[in-house]
Every structure is written in C-alpha cells, then in structure tokens.
C-alpha cells in the first residue's frame, strides 16, 4: 500500500513529506529527479518509476508533483486515483492546490493526510466526511477559535463514515433548498489539413451543486438517454435503475460533486462548430515563412461561439511573428515559441483572419515539423451532443426545492493539423 508521500515543486524542492509506515529517506526521490531531468518537460515525466527497492508513482498537478512511494504490489491506478483525490481535497479546502497554500496550511494538510490514509489504506476520502472531522480554514473560524479556544478538529464520529451512504452527512439544513446541474461537454477532435475530421468525440460531465435539507432522494431523467452508452457514475447513483429505466436515481452528497461523466464517440453525432482555413509555410531560403488563418462557423446549432482562441506551438527556429489580426489580439512568446491568438466572439458576417509573416533564424534549415493549431471555444446554452434533461423529481422530503439546469459546450483537445 502507499508508504510515503512527497510533495515536490516544479523546481525540484521537496517541501512536504508524510510517511504512513516507517520513514523512508527523501533520497529515494533522487530517482525521480533523474527521470525528471531526462524528460525535460514536467508533463513528460513517466508516472510509474522503478527503483531498486521501491516504486515511485507520481502525478503532476498545478505545477506540483505528488510523489508516492510504494514497496509492494499495489494497483498503480489506485495510487494515482488517490493522489488526485489528495490534490482535489487540497483544492476543496484551500481554494487551490499550490505550494503556497500548502505551506500556509501545513498543519491542516498534515492532519488531512493522516485522516485520508491509515497504514497506506484509504480511510476517509469523501470531502463531506473530512470536513466534519477537520474543518476547512476560514478567517471567521480562526478568529472565533482564538477567542474561545475551540479547535478545528471535530470530536464526534462523522456520521457518513459508516452508513450505506458515506457521501452524505446527516442533519443537513438549508433555508433555501436548491439543486443545480451543469451539463458540460467538451469536444475532443483532430482535423486534418483539409478540414476533414480524423477523430472526434465528446467528453461530457454533469456537475451538480445540491443544497437540500434532510435526506432527499432525487431522480433525474433525460429526453434522449439513448445517447449515453458509455457512462461512469458517482457512487451515489443506483446502477440498477439506470440499467432498467435509464434514469439517474440517487441520494446526493451535500454540496458540489460530479454526478456522472459520459462520452459520445460515434462520429456522426459529433458536430464540429467551427471550420479553420489555414496555411503556414516556410520558404527554403530567405529565413521567413507565411501564416494565414481564417475561422468560420460550421455546425453551431444557431448559437454564438465565444471565447475563441487559437494556440500554435511554433518550431524552435521561429524568431518572431509579424501578423495582423482582423479581430482580437495575438501574442508570440519567444521563450516558449507559443503563438496565441485571442479572438473572442465569432461573428459569422465578418470572419476573423490572422495573416502575416514569420521570421526564422538565419541559416537554420527549413523546419521539418508542421505546427498544430489548438482551438479553444465555448458555446453557452448548448450541449453539442443534443443531450437534454427532461425532469428532476425529489422524493423523501416535503419541501419544494429550486431546480436549475445549465448547458455549456467547450473545446477540449481540439486540434487542427497543418
């Protein structure tokens, strides 16, 4: 099971360590530093490393490495999932998962880690349960605590710990009872030079924010559940009912949670909202190149495309870009060689265009690779798969809750090859 955890910042300093069994010297991380050195980019460090006596399993989140040391055969996915859960918990408690906040809350972090794992076995990882045992920091509480001498640590057994519904605590009370659901879809796509779709799929997620008194039992149903053939659920969802009736029936956790994720991959169902006309070319001689990009609407279902951006990783030899944009601004970062064109809203009447010349390092050979374009976009009030929630019913409680569903479509890993 998980033996130790080291938190390492992106420059390679270990700033926190926690051991659940015997203490393992931090020199074990040297193997990781070696691999990190070799990989160059922090994203490229292999997640599972073998050392003579241990295994190091690492995740990279928010410029931090969470490195766990294990000694026996443990499912690596279990470790990785757990590490992400740790990062999520920090985010949940402190608003972000960064070196700064962890150092600012080091004792709470330590208490949390102790509560999340016992002898390497996960103990309490549900945010609801943890929050009952270790109160998240806030200014008001720390003032109150200093005045009254009370503590951040709950002294009763968390109610969720042992019930059949560990994700929900008992005795929840709200004056305003509300349940909101966000259907968020991301389009992952690869388009080739000519604009043909090589690959496209939709990653969907339903995020929920439920603040309801007592023990509500909710049923969420869809107009077109047939769309969903590949789903994964929060543990609260009753799988049998989904199998039989294609409805989501569940007793929700209190607060924010991810109700389900799904993915739609049949090609014909994935609409591509924009098209891109591009040409990027470098000349054999003269150390320069040309760039010309135009974007236009394709299948937008009559909605406005917003937050449009184009990001290009230029070849290393490109020194600068001299371009004109008919809409929005562009920046070219010399150090990272990344060109970002921030367009904003897409106006179908006047298509945005970016055009101009690129200057290449003198004497360098013509770049071999073709830079890919990464597109960012957002469409409000639309789930591009066509998924629609038809109704939400509540059983088990008497009050009338306020309900809301919001849809949004974004570009995920949306790339255009040149």
């Amino acid at each position: 099971m998980i033996h130790s955890l080291f938190l390492i910042n992106h420059t390679g300093d270990i700033f926190l360590e926690k051991h659940w069994k015997s203490v393992i010297s931090r020199s074990v991380c040297d193997y990781f530093f070696e691999a990190k050195e070799k990989a160059g980019d922090p994203e490229n460090v292999p997640p599972v490393l073998q050392t003579p006596h241990h295994y190091l399993i690492t995740i990279y989140r928010g410029k931090l490495f969470l490195l766990s040391v294990i000694q026996t055969e443990v499912p690596p996915l279990f470790v990785i999932e757990f590490l992400h859960r740790v990062a999520d918990t920090f985010q949940d408690y402190f608003g972000e998962c960064s070196e700064g906040v962890i150092k600012d809350n080091v004792v709470t972090v330590y208490e949390l880690l102790e509560e999340m794992l016992d002898n390497g076995f996960p103990l309490a990882t549900e945010s609801n349960v943890l929050k009952e045992m270790i109160k998240p920091p806030n200014i008001l509480r720390s003032v109150v605590n200093t005045l009254t001498g009370s503590s951040n640590v709950g002294d009763t057994l968390p109610t969720g710990q042992l019930s059949n519904i560990p994700w929900r605590r008992a005795g929840v009370k709200y004056t305003n009872n509300e349940a909101y659901f966000d259907v968020i879809e991301e389009i992952d796509a690869i388009l080739d030079k000519s604009g043909t779709t090589v690959f496209a799929e939709i990653q969907g997620v339903i995020e929920a924010c439920v603040r309801l008194t007592g023990m509500p039992d909710l049923t969420l149903s869809f107009m077109n559940p047939r769309l969903l053939d590949d789903v994964s659920f929060h543990p609260c969802v009753r799988f049998k009912r989904w199998e039989a009736e294609r409805v989501l029936s569940f007793i929700p956790p209190d607060g924010n949670f991810t109700l389900m994720t799904y993915h739609v991959s049949s090609q014909n169902l994935v609409a591509i909202p924009v098209y891109v006309k591009q040409s990027i070319s470098f000349f054999e001689s003269g150390s320069c190149g040309r760039l010309d990009i135009t974007l236009g609407p394709k299948q937008t279902m009559g909605k406005m495309v917003e937050g449009l951006t184009v990001t290009i990783h230029m070849p290393k030899t490109v020194l600068s870009a001299n371009l004109t944009a008919t809409q929005g601004n562009y920046t070219y970062d010399l150090a990272t060689k990344v060109l970002v064109w921030d367009i904003g809203k897409l106006n179908p009447q006047k298509l945005p265009n970016l055009k101009g010349s690129l200057s290449v390092q003198a004497g360098a050979p013509k770049p071999e690779e073709n830079p890919s374009l990464n597109i960012g976009l957002k469409i409000q009030q639309l789930a591009i798969s066509g998924l629609k929630v038809s109704r939400l019913d509540m059983y088990g409680e008497k009050y009338k809750p306020f309900k809301g569903v919001k849809y949004v479509t974004k570009a995920g890993k949306f790339q255009v090859r040149t």
């Binding site: 490229n44 073998q50 004792v107 330590y110 080739d192 090589v198 690959f199 990464n374």
Partner: protein
C-alpha cells in the same frame, strides 16, 4: 492567519523556545507550540529533542491537540523507544474511551508506533477493538492487525489475530469486510503459501454483497481478492461476472480496471457460444475507452493494460482504433503507448486510416516518437499484406525527407519488409543505397549491410559498398562487424571471382584482429566452411530463409496469461510477472487463467509453461541482435518443430547447435582424404577450437574459386549433411552443446569455485583480543574453512580448538584446528580447516548458518557465520537431460521460486562458465525472442538436487533465475550463491 508563521525562527534557538512554550500552562499556547513542532517535522527538520515535552501534552481532552501529539509520536517513537513507553498508559486508557472515535484513534496510532515494547501492550486493546460494538472501531482494528503483522508477524500468529481477521470477512458492515480483505491480502503477500484468504462460494457471496455497499477503495480490495478465486463451473463464473459488471461504470478508474481483471479472468470459463459471453465482450469496450479520457497518468496505466487485453482478446477493441490516435499535447509516455496499441489493432479494415496517421506522426517534433512511428509503418507492412505496397511507398517518401534519424529508422524496417516479402520490393534498393553515407547508427548500418549482402547479385557495386564499410572495421559495433562478415561471405559466394581479396580481408580481420569471441568464432566457422567445402557453404549461408511472421514483440502466451491475471497491478505496467520484480514476495504463486469450460486442458497441469510455449508454435519473431546463433547461419529461425514431447529447450536452437557440432564434424570427417593442412605459423592457435577440428587451414583463393566453379563431385558429396541437420537433433546434441560451451569458455575466465572475501566473524573486543576473520572455499572437492586468527591482546595465545554446533548440512571439522605455534601479540596466522558433512544435522535459520565455538588458553568464544551454500555443490551435479526434464516436470510448481539478479553484465555463455566453476552445470540452452534460457542442475552434499532455469536477455543486465527443488527452503540460499558467483 496561516501556518507559515510556524516556520519563522527566532535568534535564540528554536528548540529552546518551543520547549518553553510546550511546558506553558496555557492550553492555547501549548497547542500552538505543538503545531510549530509538527510544521518543522513535515519539512524534515529534526525536532526529536522535544520528545518528552510533546508527550507531556498527550493527556488532554482536546482532540485536536491529542491528534497532533499522536502525529508526533508516530514519527519519532522509533528513535526514542524508552520515552515512547511513557505514552502507553494513555493509549490503553483511550482504548476504553466511550467515544468510538477516540478508541479507534488510539488503536490506530498504537499500531503505527513501531516499537517492540509498545506492541506488547497493543495486543489486549487490539483484541477488544476487533470485537468492538462500533464498526468504525472494528474496521480500524482490522487494518491494525496488518500493521502489527508488519512489525512482528510471529506475535500476530501466536495471538490468533489472523483467525479473528478471517471472521471479520463475515461482518455485517461492508466497510469492515473490505478492510479485513485488504489487511488479509497485505498479510498474504508476505506468506505466499498460507491459505489466508480461503475463498469458497460462501465467502465469495459475502464479498459480492459487500462490494455493492462499501467505498470505492474497499471495492478495489474486494475485486482484487475476487480475482484470485477460481469458480467451480461456468455457471458460477457467469453469476459472478453479472454481479461485477456494474462496477465498470464506476467513476474511480481503479475500480473499473479491477473489475475488468475479474471479468477477463472469469470469461475464460464461459463457453464462447453463450449469448452472455458476447454481451460481456461488448460491455468491456466502453469503460476501457473512457479510461483514456482521464488524466494522463491514469491513461498511461490504462494503456499498458489495454496492450495486454488487446493481445489476449483483440475483438474487444477492434472497432475503437480512433481513440488511440495520438493528440498533439499528449505526454510522450502516452503517445508511445498509443502507438503500440494502434499497431496491434491494425487490420485490413482500418489500415488506410492507420497509415495516414502514422505518416502524420513521422513529421512530429519528438525524436523517439517519430522513430517509433516509422518503425510502426514497417510493422503494418508486415502485418497487413495488402498494405505493404503503400507502406513501402510511405517509407520511401520519408526517406526523401533526408531527416537523418527518419532515414535510418526506415532502412531498418525496410530490411524486415524484405524478409517478409522477398523478391517484391527490391527495386527500392537503389534509393536506399543513396543514403548509405548518412547512416551513423549501428542498427541502420547493420540493416543496410544485410540488404547489400543479401541482394549482392542485383547491386552492381556491392563489393565497393561493402568495402567502404570495411575500412573502419574496428571502430564499428559488434552488430555491424558481424553483419559485415556475413554480408561479405554472401557476396563472395555470389560473385566469387571479384571478391576473393575482400573475403580474405574480412576473415582475417574477424579472426585475427578481434577480441570479440562471437566475431572470431563466426569468422572461423565461415573460414572452415569455405575452405573445406564451398558448395556446402553456399547451401548453408545462402539457404532460403523462412519468412518472418507478422507480429513482433508479442508477449509469450504463458506470460500473457499470467499478466492477464494481474491486470491493474504493477506487473501489468511492466509486463513482467510479479515474481520477477516485486521485492519481498518470495516465491509468489504464478497465477494462471482458468481453463475454458469446453477444453480438456486442465488448469493444474504443472508444465503448461514450457509445453504451451513450444507446442503452440510461437509466432516467429524478428530476432534481436543478441540472437547470434540463429543469425550466424542466417537461419533466423527454423520451422517450429512439433516432434516428440516438448523439451524445455526448444528444437530451434538445438538444430543450429547440432549443425555446428555434428554437422561440421561430419563435414570434416567425410573427407575421404584429409586435405593437406599446412599450418600457418602466424595464425593464432586457439586452444578452445583445436579439439574440435584442425586449426584454420591456410586456404588459397584460387583453389576455392576452382572448387566453386566446377567440382560437381564435391558438391554431390557434401549436399547431404546440411539437409539432415534440422531434423535429427537428438543424439549429437550434448556433443554440440559441450563444444559450444567450451568454445565460449576460452575467453580466459579463471575456473574454480567461487569463494567470498574474508569477513570478520569474531571481533577482538568480543573475544578478549582474539580476532577471527574467515571465509569458505571448495577446493578440489573438499570444503575448506579458511580463517585468519589475529591476536590483539597483550598476552600470548595457545591451545586453540574448534567445534561446530549442529547445523543444516552436517558440516563438521574433518580434523583438529592446526595452530601449532603460540600466537604472540599482534601476530596473525592463516589456518585452513578441511570440513566434512557427516556431522549431526539440525535445521538452522537461516539455512546456511553455522555456530562455531573456538577455545584458547584464555576462554571459549562463540560466533556464528554463514557459509555460501555453493560450498556444498558437488562435482557430479550434472544431470542427464532426460532426467532433468522428467524431474522438472515432476517437482510441483509450488516449489518453484523466482529471483532476479540485477546488474550482471555477462553473456549467457560466460555466465554458464562461471557457474560451472562453482559446480552449477548447464545442461541445455535455448533462445527465445532474444532471451537465452539456460537449464542447470546442482547437487548438494546431502543429495538434494536443485534445478534451475536462468534467463538472460541480451542487453538487459537483469537475469531471472527460477529454481525448482524438492526442498524449496534451500532456494533462497542457492539464489544467493548464484548472485555471488555471477557478480564476482
């Protein structure tokens, strides 16, 4: 207010100030002080000096303070065991607390304090907590048993905690069940043969019920445990599958993968024509695809596992090719894995798409990725015949880019394409030759040379091309040198008239100026072949080569089966059986897939390992560069032999060896009139060769040319031997083998049993000034105990005598200790004591422990030392091949244990030689996929036989040793000897 304030230091000395604050009367100040201490601890500062002060804060009703003190205790108790005992009372009291949270916390913390004295006090509270009315306490206590087991396994067994833990599997609370399973699984890992998790239909039912109700982590433990169960029949298998399937929709990817493991395993038992079987197959695809949309780290592990699943059941993901398309911003480790799976899934139906993608990847930035993409194009050509033409033209396009590493990679794969489709694409050779000068990597150079040699008759200037390589012969890597040698010999056989000088040059370079035994031997063999019978040489060297088959780097079927049972574990990430690398799990049981319902193959057949490997005719594979033997004759593989019972050594390599031993001898012997062999004085005489045949004859090119040109009688006379060789390999095998090993042995290795360096057994301060250091050695069949006695006292020592306690192998002094002269102060003496093995026997722990008493005029001193078990390996330990085979099969698989030897850089032959020096005898050798397997036997003085399989992968410094013995307890020590011998 943030915790960073705890890091501010003052001038006066942090520790001093903290001490004062910890002893403050104010509760709040105390708590703040403890927090500061913890904060320092988390960043690795040593605050152990504050131990007593922190422990004083423990008795409090403030839970946060208590938890903080516990945190501190867990970290430092080990370094301050005497102080830690002060905390025991509070723990014991807390275990009786009415608040279950406090009871659980106390028992949990106590288990984390790894101090023996504390664990003694832990037993009683733990026993109570295991039966606590509150499930929260019970589930915490279950984990505590695992902790205690880690500290003191014997104590846990003596106290009967294991039984209590087993009872908890039937607990009413699913969380308790899950934790009990987790704890038992962890304990079982260090006790591979204990039947801790006794799975029967009743417990399985309980686990399945708990599965639905426990947390996600608990589900992982339960699923992993279920995967170890073997259902009685297909109906039980199906019902378990049905109850596990819902887990595939879990948000936690580890749960999903563990469920996939259970399903993949139990599916084996379902009849294929069952409707449910098809349904299940369909259900497996979506969750696997979903795993690929998770974080990159999760994707990586998922991809490694999908790689296995695709090999076992390609039908599951055959329509999902597109999800494996590489995205621009995938991390490199994900990209490489995706590429692998794309090739595995490539088929006629999707090849166009795949090729278009691969071509796209070949222009990316990352060099490793581009190389792999180019190689993948070649693999597609070999796998999908219809696409070969398109692949070749794609490769040619890529060669035109002139990007150096792309060109080199392309040439390597084109060589393979030639071997799959001979006489089809040779028209591209001209284009390849244009790029000759830009090749700087050994593999590409070797490939190019192979192409030139193989198609010498179609390349007008083949001799010039090869000659250009010859100039820098000594600077080339072995791989290139070997290829060059073979290439030029081929050229010579094809165009004998113009190339005599060239071939002479290369043969002398290889045989006289090279230190590399492989190169030298290959040179000699060619030389002899050419000089004795060029026609036979032609038949051998230019023999038609079998086609290489489609799939490369497939995992061996038995290994794959085992890995499928380990889906989701580290083994599945490394694609190695867990026994090969998991530390501390000695003799892990090999898991096997259950047999399918219809098939007659029983699961418990002990030899499925080697049997399946050979009789199913493993796919022929492009040999790696290490596969020299096969390469030597350009017979990269012989057709799979199906004759007779599958021996542990495959027929393939034996054929090749026989050719060398028997075949060559007959070549020589059949000469009606021995050819006049003028001994060249300047030819280095290699003693290791001389027993086999006369030294290399001085050969004259003109004679050779004439022979080749027209001596039909010779040709007829020598046509036979090579034709016979692949079939008859049984009789002369051992001869051929011996020869070969002797060949390798001439490298100049000192022979003789390995003896470790002397270590101090008895330090002077423990023995009133007498220091004894020593070691053991086996010299011409006699075990010697070699000691250096040093007098470090002020007075003279006399009257030495020695005695052994009873020991595992009955070692006893064969004579008295010969120290004749008195030992004066500061004097040392070397003594050698011969030992026999007829003394009284008692099993020791460890097995090779020897307790010795030494007496002198001052006192009697006792010490114990460990002898390398290799001292006990006797000289007549070479088993007959047939006996070996039968014995290997006869010894149950449970007795097999596997070990890994790291960082050993010997070739298999050198290793075999070294081992032979210590009476570890190699009986047979075979090579599979670039991996050499040596089969070895050892006999101990007490008649115990140990059989071993040593696996050596070219280029991988890690060897794997599998040992089989009727007395498995010796395996560990035998392995240690292996390691010691090989590393010295």
């Amino acid at each position: 207010m943030t915790d960073s304030k705890y890091f501010t230091t003052t001038k006066k000395g942090e520790i001093f100030e903290l001490k004062a604050e910890l002893n403050s009367d104010k509760k709040e100040k105390k708590k703040e002080a403890v927090k500061k201490v913890i904060a320092s601890m988390t960043v690795g500062k040593d605050v152990s000096a504050l131990f007593p002060d922190v422990v004083n804060c423990m008795q409090t009703d403030n839970l946060e303070l208590k938890k903080l003190v516990y945190l501190y205790l867990m970290n430092y108790a080990k370094s301050q065991p005497d102080m830690a005992i002060m905390a025991v009372n509070t723990f014991v009291k807390d275990c009786e607390d009415p608040n279950p949270l406090i009871r659980a916390l106390a028992v949990r913390t106590m288990g984390c304090i790894r101090v023996d004295k504390i664990t003694e006090y832990l037993c009683e509270p733990l026993r109570k907590c295991l039966k606590d009315e509150d499930p929260y306490v019970r589930k915490t206590a279950a984990v505590c048993v695992a902790k205690l087991h880690d500290i003191n396994a014997q104590l846990v067994e003596d106290q009967g905690f294991l039984d209590t833990l087993k009872d908890l599997i039937s607990d009413s609370n699913p969380m308790v069940v899950a934790n009990a399973v987790a704890a038992l699984s962890e304990i079982a890992e260090s006790h591979p043969n204990s039947n801790l998790l006794d799975l029967n239909p009743q417990t399985i039912n309980k686990l399945l019920t708990a599965l639905n109700e426990c947390t996600e982590w608990g589900q992982i433990f339960i699923l992993d445990c279920l995967a170890n169960y073997t259902p009685r029949d297909d109906r039980e298998s199906q019902s378990i599958c049905e109850r596990v399937t819902p887990r595939l929709s879990h948000a936690n990817s580890a749960v999903v993968l563990s469920a996939v493991k259970v399903l993949m395993k139990f599916m084996e038992m379902l009849p294929k024509d069952l409707d449910y079987y098809g349904t299940l197959l369909k259900k497996l695809a979506p969750p696997l695809v979903t795993l690929l949309s998770a974080e990159p780290e999760l994707q990586y592990v998922a991809l490694r596992n999908i790689n296995l699943i695709v090999q076992r059941r390609p039908e599951i993901l055959k329509h999902e090719m597109k999800v494996f398309f590489v995205k621009y911003n995938d991390p490199i480790y994900v990209k490489l894995e995706k590429l692998d799976i794309m090739i595995r899934l490539a088929s006629q139906a999707n090849i166009a798409q795949v090729l278009a993608e691969l071509k796209e990847y070949a222009t990316e930035v990352d060099v490793d990725f581009v190389r792999k993409a180019v190689r993948a194009i070649g693999r597609c050509a070999i796998k999908v015949e219809q696409s070969a033409e398109r692949c070749v033209s794609t490769l040619l396009d890529l060669i035109q880019t002139k990007v150096n590493y792309v060109v080199q990679e392309a040439i390597v794969v084109i060589k393979d394409i030639f071997r799959k489709y001979p006489n089809k694409y040779e028209s591209v050779i001209a284009t390849l030759c244009e790029n000759l000068d830009s090749l700087d990597e050994p593999e590409a150079r070797a490939a190019m040379i192979w192409i030139v040699g193989e198609y010498a008759e179609r390349i007008d200037n083949a001799d010039e091309l090869l000659e250009s390589f010859l100039e820098g012969f000594h600077d080339e890597s072995t791989q290139v040198q070997l290829q060059l040698l073979t290439g030029i010999v081929k050229l010579f056989l094809k165009k004998p008239t113009e190339t005599q000088e060239l071939v002479q040059q290369v043969l002398s370079l290889a045989t006289q100026d090279s230190d590399n035994p492989d190169l030298r031997d290959r040179g000699y063999i060619y030389w002899r072949l050419l000089s004795t019978d060029p026609v036979a040489a032609k038949e051998v060297v230019l023999a038609e080569k079998p086609l290489i088959s489609e799939e490369t780097d497939l995992i061996e079927p038995t290994l794959l089966e085992e890995l499928i049972c380990h889906i989701g574990t580290l083994a599945s990430v490394y694609h190695k059986p867990p026994s090969a690398f998991v530390e501390g799990s000695r003799g892990v049981q090999h898991k096997r897939l259950p047999g399918s319902a219809g098939s007659g193959e029983s699961v418990d057949s002990p030899d499925t390992g080697s049997a399946a490997g050979v009789s199913e005719a493993p796919p022929a594979v492009i040999p790696s560069q290490g596969d020299l033997l096969g390469d030597l004759l350009n017979l990269d593989l012989t057709p799979p032999t199906t004759t007779g019972p599958p021996p542990p050594t495959s027929g393939m390599q034996m054929g090749a060896m026989d050719l060398l031993g028997g075949g060559l001898d007959s070549l020589m012997g059949d000469e009606s009139e021995p050819p006049p062999i003028p001994l060249r004085t300047d030819t280095p005489q290699s003693p290791q060769l001389s027993h086999q045949s006369p030294s290399p004859p001085d050969y004259s090119p003109t004679e050779l040319g004439g022979d080749l040109g027209g001596n039909p009688a010779m040709a007829a006379g020598f046509g036979a031997p090579p034709a016979v060789m692949p079939t008859s390999f049984n009789a002369p095998v051992s001869g051929g083998l011996d020869d070969l090993f002797d060949l390798g042995g001439g490298v100049g290795m000192p022979m003789g049993s390995y003896s470790p360096p002397k270590t101090v057994w008895l330090p002077a301060m423990k023995a009133k000034g007498l220091e004894i250091s020593g070691t053991f050695a086996r010299r011409s069949g006699v075990i010697q105990m070699e000691m250096t006695l040093t007098n470090k006292a002020m007075s003279v020592m006399t009257d030495f005598a020695i005695q052994f306690n009873r020991n595992s192998f009955g070692l006893a002094p064969a004579g008295p200790l010969q120290v004749l002269t008195p030992l004066s102060p500061n004097q040392s003496i070397e003594v050698s004591l011969p030992l026999n093995t007829v003394g009284p026997v008692m099993k020791m722990e460890p097995l090779n422990n020897l307790q010795v008493a030494v007496k002198n005029n001052i006192d009697v001193f006792y010490f114990s030392c460990q002898y390398p078990i290799s001292m006990l390996f006797v000289e007549d330990g070479k088993m007959e091949r047939q006996v070996f085979l039968a014995t290997w099969k006869d010894i149950p698989n449970d007795n097999e244990s596997q070990f890994q030897i790291k960082d050993c850089h010997l070739s298999s032959d050198a290793a075999s030689n070294k081992l032979q020096g210590s009476n570890i005898f190699t009986i047979a050798k075979r090579t599979v996929e670039g991996q050499d397997m040596l089969y070895q036997s050892i006999k101990l003085t007490n008649g115990i036989w140990v059989l071993a399989e040593l696996r050596v992968q070219a280029g991988n410094p890690n060897y794997t040793v599998s040992l089989k013995c009727r007395a498995p307890e010796v395996s560990q020590s035998v392995f240690q000897s292996y390691e010691a011998v090989l590393k010295n």
